[in-house]
Amino acid sequence: MRALLICGLLAAAPVFGQPSAPSATELSVTDPARQQALIRIVRQDCGSCHGMLLTGGLGPALTREALADIPFDVVLASIVHGRPGTPMPGWKTLLSVADATWIAQQLQSGFPQEPKSRP
């Protein structure tokens, strides 16, 4: 079943072209600006279901402790393909596999905070 979940990962294409995701498409996930954009997406947009602090909501908690026993591939596949039968959508139209891999790694090691900034 897990193999099913992660198959097709490589087919996912990066297409993230919205104004709120600053110039995401061209940036590599190794670029600090892209990483900041991904941190914001996870904290703010994933946060609408998982909580800004990732302590859960309609979606489960995504803290390091909560994910400790979940295989990396399952976390990654959940991000890319969603979780059928639940409200979790697949994010493959908005995130590249490299993006999703970076997010899964960060989640499992404790997700970074957004820098504090007031306008």
Partner: protein, 405 residues
Amino acid sequence: MIASLFRALRLSSPFAMLALLGACASAPPPTAPMRGTGDLGLVVGRADGTLTVVDTSARSALGTIPGLGDLSHASLVYARDGATAFVFGRDGALTRVNLLARRIEARIQQAGNSIGGAISQDGTLVAAQNYQPGGVKVFDARTLQLVADIPASFDAPGEPAKRSRVVGLADLPGKRFIFSLFDANQIWIADLSQGGAPVLTKFLDVGRQPYDALVTPNGRHYIAGLFGEDGLALIDLWEPQPKVRRILGGYGRGQEPLPVFKMPHLRGWAVAGRLAYLPAIGRHEVLVVDTQSWQEVARIPVAGQPVFVMAQPDGRQVWVNFALPDYHRVQVIDTLSQSVVKTLEPGAAVLHLEFTPRGDTVWISSRDANRVSVVDTRNFATLAQLTVPAPSGIFFTSRAARMGF
């Protein structure tokens, strides 16, 4: 299997009571003139746990109330004095604030993970709907003392007395609250009119995964949106023996649903004349239903997955915002032609909109632009812009007089 693993690992939280009195940062000067509250409101600042008090006549911010904790997905309700608000935080805190004094009056930690609340028709009871532990807690509005704890327990296959996450909480006439159980496919009514333990009425098998709900302005109909199937669950609460019926069943027409990157919200009932406007799930459409026959009369293509579908107070237009990646837009539907007549781009990540009491302006929060825009509903001109860090929900005191708000 994975779901149960996730559930088992979810953080538990302490429920110790604490009271923080007198916390205030930008209190009004002692010589401030007396004023009413009918043109005041609160804007939730997601990023820093702060409420901004706004004046809808001056179109300006009066000050802030900090110290509210985790306000991701925060909502609030107003006491009937229009000066006191009850704020429900994601972190399970319930906070009573005063808009005129601009300070926190009382604050308790009532659950581990909360999603919103309601206030009773007579203003004496405040109810919080919780994800963890799943259920509803009812408090005395004056003291914030616990009045009733209603665990959303149900018997799942192999998991007796499992607790469901609760959504779609609304007030009903006569010290009653109605709410939906996301995990149990149930709707419950809790009647607290008799004192003592709440009397529960349960509707079973209402449809798969009710995700949010609304009550109509007259308190007659309760409508729960279903995530797990195409359709909505409707209860006519005026019937002697209310029962659940399905409306708009199969609206997806068997097509593969589009991904839903944010759940729609139903509170904010869009009713214009005898028609109601409801967000489709997994389709970029607003569904129009006749509230007499409950038959679909139209579906209106829009720019993305609708999140809020809100009627102007006069019902002349309906305003829609969207889930990402289309959440930089707001669209306006003309209710005579049933078509989109205007698309606005008021700033990145539009999270909420709220009308001034008679509908002359709509206030729109743009999270990533750190901006609240005040827009004229007749000519769509931007009349003012307020700088608020990561604004989300906007709540005007006129909600105090509306059932279901």
